[in-house]
């Protein structure tokens, strides 16, 4: 696919950071710092400081962290989270590797389709997605009912930690697919040919040359999967797995532990662990980032497949897509089904659910489009600005901006949601409406939550632009600002658009932060509509219908953006 190149690898030392800062750059940096402080650091801090206060006194203490390490449940949760995240990375790799390999190495019909479909699992609306998964893979889902019927056994796809690993692998494997595909595409074809010339071929060639060269992309994707799974609470909770860290934080913060510091202690642990994972991946890719196309080479040559190879490739792709798109297929079936209970397929079919949500959904759709696109826009503007500051200036503390923005990934949505209420509810507008009651606050929360995705995409895009192109513009009399506008931004457009798509698509189905911040039905996005519908038996079908609409909507936007990206890519490359 046009490849939202999303990765976590943080700023490695840059070879060509030159120039000193101009006043404009300093102002920009301060502006971004203020934005992040106001909408990320401060709200999160209003919630998290509790972790460091003593009971009854409010004095600073670390005893709560001692409690954390003394409590079996929390330690068990920590290890479970770690184990599940690591295994989900493995599972996601197994799904992503063949797809990335086949689509980037062979002349393969349907590459664009596969890469677009491969993006879909990221767009799984909350609640209904899990219901659809259960109907297919649950203990009495279609797969198991048929297995039991035919062979007399069942497979525990969705049980306990293994269930979480299974679902998370399917849900987040696109992150690896996207990054790995981009990395594979960026390998100089001569690298591969040189190895073939020296007698290497087939899987050995892949293992010894191609994969190591794509490693930075793989690590970027894998670390993103790790962090997302580590911080995700929705999937474990929907599978009724509670002894993991994120669910523990959520359960405490939203029920009896609300006044207790432990929920916030866990949030701190989550943030620290996520940032550590990001730092580790930055460290691991340091010095091995050779992702840009080198002189003289195009991308990897795409080999034509022999008929039997082609059949094998199609079979592999079909199997994987069938698996990862099963939730969407289930969702579609569910949206058309009358009753679906303890049977491989629904009892009957109807279009009534679509008719029922027709009226409501237009409002939800409108809100979702507005919120998600505004959030995506804020993200790419901030992402481009931060990437520019980090890669092209020597401002002191520019890396801190990068880290702060990336850390947003690790702040649980619920913490941010409560933080926004605490921080902005007291701020009143001229007519007495609290600031937090305005829908723009939802947009800001979504923007902050999705900023890391867009930032990485913009960062990667800017990294691949030679500084000399900007120098040429400045040499011809363009100011820095005009250079950015006329040279840098157009060249980055593909990356910026990729960042926008990722931010937009994932924001469109985000629930955790919005749930806390939605103040009225007329301001509610799709995810909230789903939540409301999925509280009753009669709401299941309409909820699924709304979910289908959400997926189609986001997918259409994604495909459109890809078309634009691909068209941009089709322009003749500069130089050779």
């Amino acid at each position: 696919m046009g490849g939202p190149h999303v990765s976590l690898a943080l700023a490695a030392p840059r070879a060509r950071a030159r120039r000193t800062a101009t006043p404009g750059q300093i102002t920009l940096a301060l502006g971004i710092a203020a934005f992040l402080a106001l909408f990320l650091v401060w709200p999160a801090a209003t919630v998290i400081y509790v972790a460091f206060t003593e009971r009854g006194g409010g004095a600073f203490t670390l005893v709560n962290f001692v409690d954390f390490f003394r409590t079996d449940l929390f330690l068990r949760s920590f290890w479970n989270s770690f184990y599940v995240s690591a295994m989900a990375v493995a599972g996601a790799s197994i799904l992503a590797l063949p797809l990335a390999y086949i689509t980037s190495r062979f002349a393969f019909r349907g590459t664009v389709l596969i890469q677009t479909l491969g993006f879909l699992p990221l767009i799984m609306p909350p609640f209904v997605g899990a219901v659809a998964m259960q109907l297919f893979f649950g203990r009495n889902g279609s797969a198991n009912l048929l297995l039991d019927d035919w062979f007399g056994f069942k497979i525990a796809f969705m049980e306990g930690l293994n269930g979480v690993i299974f679902v998370q692998s399917i849900h987040y494997f696109p992150f690896i697919l996207i990054n790995l595909s981009a990395a594979l595409r960026n390998i100089d074809g001569a690298m591969e040919e040189a190895a073939q010339n020296l007698g290497s071929s087939g899987f050995r060639l892949f293992r010894r040359i191609v994969f190591p060269l794509a490693m930075p992309g793989y690590i970027a994707g894998a670390s993103l999967v790790f962090v997302k799974v580590f911080d995700d609470l929705a999937t474990p909770l929907l599978l009724n797995v509670k002894d993991m860290l994120a669910p523990q934080a959520y359960l405490r913060v939203t029920s009896i532990g609300i006044a207790d510091p432990m929920g916030y202690v866990i949030s701190v642990v989550l943030i620290v662990a996520s940032v550590a994972a990001m730092a580790l991946s930055a460290l691991a890719t340091r010095g091995i980032d050779y992702s840009t196309v080198q002189r003289g080479g195009g991308g990897l040559a795409r080999r034509r497949l022999r008929p039997y190879e082609s059949a094998l490739a199609y079979l592999t792709v079909a199997l994987i897509l069938l698996l990862v798109l099963a939730p969407h297929v289930g969702l579609l079936l569910l949206s058309f089904s009358t009753v679906w209970s303890f049977s491989p397929l629904p009892d009957g079919y109807t279009t009534a659910h679509y008719a029922r949500i027709f009226g409501d959904s237009s409002l939800y759709i409108k809100n979702t489009l507005i919120y998600a696109s505004m959030a995506g826009l804020i993200d790419v503007v901030l992402g481009t600005a931060i990437a520019y500051l980090v890669l092209r200036t020597r401002l002191i503390g520019r890396d801190a901006l990068d880290w702060a923005a990336s850390a947003a990934l690790a702040v649980p949505g619920i913490v941010l949601g409560i933080g926004y209420l605490r921080a902005f509810y007291g701020v009143k507008l001229w007519d007495g409406t609290p600031l937090a009651a305005l829908w723009i606050v939802i947009v800001l929360a979504l923007a902050i939550r999705r900023l890391p995705y867009a930032l990485r995409a913009c960062y990667a895009a800017l990294q691949q632009i030679s500084v000399s192109l900007e120098e040429a513009a400045e040499n011809l009399g363009a100011t820095k600002l005009r250079t950015v506008r006329r040279i840098v931004t157009p060249l980055m457009m593909g990356g910026i658009l990729a960042g926008f798509v990722t931010s937009f698509a994932t924001a469109a189905v985000e629930l955790s932060a919005t749930l806390m911040l939605v103040q009225s039905n007329s301001d509610a996005p799709l995810a909230y509509g789903l939540y409301v519908l999925m509280q009753s038996a009669a709401g299941r079908g309409p909820g699924a219908a709304l979910g289908v609409i959400a997926v189609v909507l986001v997918a259409v936007c994604t495909i459109l953006s890809h078309a634009v990206i691909e068209r941009g890519r089709a322009m003749p490359p500069a130089g050779h």
Binding site: A195, Q196, N197, L198, G199, R208, P212, L213
Partner: protein, 368 residues
């Protein structure tokens, strides 16, 4: 590259035959009926402007491109159907294609490992190959830590370490600076001689081809224009393209006048070159001669009988050190004239009237 080591023990050099090779990408006919024979141990160049098909032909020999028809033989073996990894042909890439995730030693060892050379042999052979290119001691470096010239040598060492039957060099000097280029090409020639390895060298730089190669195939638009030694090509270009591509040539339009003994090539308002009766001149051919085959006569000097004189005006002057190049307009033609320069000589000023004399026997009449 170092003289300290002895050449590795290579198989006898191979002959390469390319027979009737055609290759198209859609409507784009990239190679047209290519026929070539490269002799064992020869240092052979494919020379031509970019887009002429020279790299395509080289990659076809390596197995990265596939001919629509025709075949390639190395030794007596038809390799057309073999994948690249079974061809036993070494190739040095323009970008060197050193794998950044491996050290120099691992890069060089790679081919040996892929060919399942016994582990114990690999170390010494890597060391020998590095020694051959004068890089002993850098084996633990990463490619990114090497200079351009060093990277080039690693690429070469990596290729010759596997003792290929044939060595292909794809613009190996293009990424080096001018001074280094001269040094490296000399070393390349020396190494090739020492190994006695049949070598094909792709370049767009005639000077490179002339200085290192035994024979050159000049290519344009997917067609081999001429094959020959550098001297042959320079002296007896087969067509206008070759004449123009190798060195500087005056290529002048005119028309054939008269016949029999009075046959001549007339440049409107300019020189009139007599043509020997036995010479074949195709209709529409142009007159071609090198700038040094023409002189400016000193005042009062008369043209010799084997020369054709013409009056003209100096339009430009370039001082080159060993010689001075003048542009002289005569009739419809502007002719470049190289005059040797000796200390104390006075130069002709732009705008002055002069008489030029063209060595009649050096003039050739060529078509496209």
């Amino acid at each position: 590259m170092s003289n300290r080591s002895t050449a590795a023990n290579h198989a006898p050099a191979a002959r390469v035959r390319i027979e009737q090779v055609d290759l198209s990408y859609g409507d784009n006919h990239v190679l047209k009926s290519i026929n070539l024979e490269i002799r064992p141990g020869e240092f052979f160049a494919f020379l031509g402007p970019s887009g002429c098909g020279k790299t395509t032909l080289l990659r076809l020999i390596a197995g990265f491109n596939h001919a629509d028809s025709g075949r390639v033989l190395v030794g007596e073996k038809d390799i057309s159907g073999l994948p690249p990894w079974k061809r036993d042909i070494g190739m040095v890439f323009q970008s060197y294609a050193l794998w950044p995730h491996m050290t120099v030693a691992r890069n060089v060892a790679f081919g040996l490992e892929e060919k399942r050379v016994p582990r114990a042999e690999i170390g010494p052979r890597v060391a020998a190959a590095l020694d051959l290119v004068g890089l002993t001691g850098l084996d633990q470096r990463r490619p990114a830590q090497l200079s351009g010239g060093q990277q080039q040598r690693v690429a070469l060492a990596r290729t010759i370490a596997v003792e290929p039957k044939l060595l292909l060099l794809d613009e190996p000097l293009s990424n080096l600076d001018a001074k280094l280029r001269v040094q490296v090409r000399r070393e390349l020639r020396e190494l090739q001689q020492r190994l006695g390895l049949t070598t094909i060298f792709v370049t767009h730089d005639q000077e490179e081809a002339n200085t290192v190669c035994d024979r050159i195939a000049v290519m344009n638009h997917g067609v081999i224009q001429q094959v020959g030694t550098p001297k042959d090509l320079y002296e007896q270009p087969a067509n206008l393209f070759v004449a123009n591509f190798l060195g500087t040539a005056n290529i002048i339009e005119g028309r054939l006048a008269g016949d029999g003994a009075s046959r001549a090539f007339e440049v409107a308002g300019g020189p009139k070159i007599p043509i020997a009766a036995d010479r074949n001149v195709a209709p529409g051919a142009r007159m071609v001669f090198r700038p040094q085959d023409c002189t400016i006569l000193a005042a009062g000097e008369f043209s010799a009988p084997d020369r054709t004189a013409a009056a003209g005006t100096v339009t430009y002057r370039e001082f080159l050190g060993a010689s001075v190049r003048y542009g002289v307009r005569t009739g419809s033609a502007e002719i470049a004239v190289d005059c040797p320069f000796h200390a104390g000589d006075t130069l002709h000023e732009v705008g002055t009237a002069v008489t030029i004399a063209i060595a009649t026997s050096a003039v050739r009449f060529l078509s496209d």
